[in-house]
Amino acid sequence: MTIEPRAFLALDSGAATTAAALIGRVGGRWRLIGSLSMPAGSDVEAIISVLGDRAVAADPSLAASLELRVGNAVDLPRLEVASHPPQRMAVVAASERALAPLVATASRSGWRTVSGSAESMDPLAMTTMLLDGGVAGVLVGASDPPAADERRALGELAALAAAAGRRRDVTVVLAGGMSEYLSAFGDVATRAGEVLLGPAAKRGAPGGPLAELLVDLALPPDDARRALGAGAMALAEILDRRVDVVEIGFDAGTRAAAGPGVAGGAPVLDLAVVPTAALAPADPDDAVVDRVGLWSTWGADRHRLRDRLRELRIAPWADATADGSTLRMAAARAALGRLDEWTPDWSERPPADLVVATGGAWAVAPAPAVALALVDVLRRPGAGQFALDHARILAPLGSIPDADERRAMVSDLVDDLLAPLGTVVTPAGMHTGRSAGSVVVHGSDGSTRLDLMPGSLALIDLPPGTSAVAEFKFRDTVKLGARGRHFAIDVTGGLGGLVVDLRDVPLKLPDRADLRGELLESWQTAIVTGREV
């Protein structure tokens, strides 16, 4: 006889953070009892033990109903995912023109990339790159059909790649027109690493079938980022809304766009894993450092900033107070920017109804500051809700293999797993220098009116769990999803309330570091304290 457990643990073992959540059966449904996040080097059993003991101390009767006693949380069943460090893929093509879309696809599909084309790299350097001990996958691609400038070099490229395939543990993907050269690889059945045929990469559209194949190769079955996609899809189905999950982690950034099935169709999911969008890249170059500097209120020179980023990489949980916390948020914004750049296909979709932030980057940030970081970087005209996967259980729930069971679990936990950050309304196209109009928020306890000044952040207190209708009247036609002057939008509350973001889309920051720092600090203060700027 199998006895269904009354409680279980959801564990997300990241490269920098171990997150444990205790989930129990209360009142006929699964509820989040508590959660704890700790640095990855901590003892997992100790984390679970402390989490269980705190639950017992906080509510002994609830703990008793879950058969939870001091010290016995470690015996609970576990639902566990782990994020794995991205591996390196060498991407080669006959021409620079053919190489660019391949790199764009591989870089958003869970692989760190090194690349070169027969045009720009001599065969010895290319062989050295392919044989490097750190390379776990090789992507050799061509247009389909190959373009005139590629055809001449394809034969030699295939011979070179096949010879470098003497490292028989390396997975090789032949994409597009390169598939015709499979015979150069000999008897592929005897290799430890697979030789796979894939479709051609599309210029300007890095997602698609090749990206799906590469994601599948990059992420092991129990990988947290893979599970995050399934979790996002379950969430979209339960809420019947378009959901964007944005993760900034130690080793990569992830973006999952999920939507419910339309007219009885299957739900849709697009998953992008971008290793270059990691919170603190291992070897931050000038571009990375400058980008963090752009968002930093700290005013450090490039060398000191690079030192701090290296320290953040080595010990991601250390120095998280005072200016350490602002550095983290600057690094998170910079990582979000890189994530946005590598996923251009997201800007072609309608804005998501709900954006969920997750990942270690947000572990020590105040919740409203997370919302501000997201809207600072992922700026699109429109209105949307923002939430935080504060206990980091979306990925463990996404790892439940049975889709019905997964949906049932997410349905039970949906109110607990998302900490509502609030609704952000971002109109675009206002004229600066004068009032753009006004907004009246009709809530259950009366109405609040606010003038809308372009360039500012207007904040309206709307606590979590409340909803209201925001009626916007603009002087000029603006873009807010559609173009118009009058809008009535259903808004829900959150830890940051209702934020009317009247700043530029995309955001324009002053060139002078001191002015920029002041402005960033004023926005941060406004959103955390609730005072308008």
Partner: protein, 328 residues
Amino acid sequence: MSATDVGLVAARRLIAAPIDGVFALAPGDRPLVAAGDSVVVGAPIAERLRDPRLDEMDIPEEVVAQPGGRWAGPPRRGHDRGPGGEYVFDWNGRWRVATGDIADAIESPFAGIVREVRPGTGITIRAAGRGIRGVVALGSPTRGRLQTSASGELRAGGLDVGSAGTILVVGSRVDAETLTRARAMGVCGVVVAGLSSKERRDFVASEARQRAALHRLPAFAVLVLDGAVRRPLAGAVQAVLAALVGREVAIVTDPPTLVFDLPNLVIPDPPIDLVRIRAGALAGREGRFVRAVGPRRFAGGVQLEAGIVHLPDGTTAAVPLGDLERFV
């Protein structure tokens, strides 16, 4: 102190074992060892081409050439070995062979057993001995007698030729000028707690120039144990290094490790409650972990899980658990 509470502090391994050192090879480099071979300290394990190039060759049909195999050119006058190279790939009936005129010997800085040899990729050797892991090692694998600098922090002017042949432990931080001077004076390597990005960049540029030079200096490596900012070496690490003074040690760059082969050296486990503060106002100090106290509000309004640490001066401090580390 409860063992569960201290388990919340991130653990760092004091001594690593076994250590599989990787020596990268490029196409054309010639491995001199095979998997399973036993190597001694200083044994040549490969020849690295200084100026590799790809030549096109007509290979006689009776020769069985395959990628990664060795190509041997006709012997020179007398008994001199002819030019050598590595078959890279065959295109249109002609082989591309990686070859070069000058080769440097790569020596194993430690004794061990060859685990794997992959021409064009690398040689992996399992070291006989143990090691202290660092966060990064710059330069090339090296070995020497371990010596500590007198003052704890080394300046360029403080170096003398008496340190030639040694691996110097220089304390909390070092600058690029000291590193290049040390290399020029015959010092084999430097072990340091922190190396800032600027000094690192300058040193790497200097190393690159050295590699490009015709007459090279001997191998030199910098092993960074902690990070990029100034902080003293951890007490537990200092104790091991003190026990190794005067002994032959090696620095390998992949993984970044100080390797020593002293089977009789007993390294006691650090006390279970001994913690080191990595960051913040008390960075570098060590103390005894008393207990975890749950979430606390710290500077900047940040809520973090905290622990009480009893410091040697008799004071106690609430420190974010993320700022602490312990050695196991």
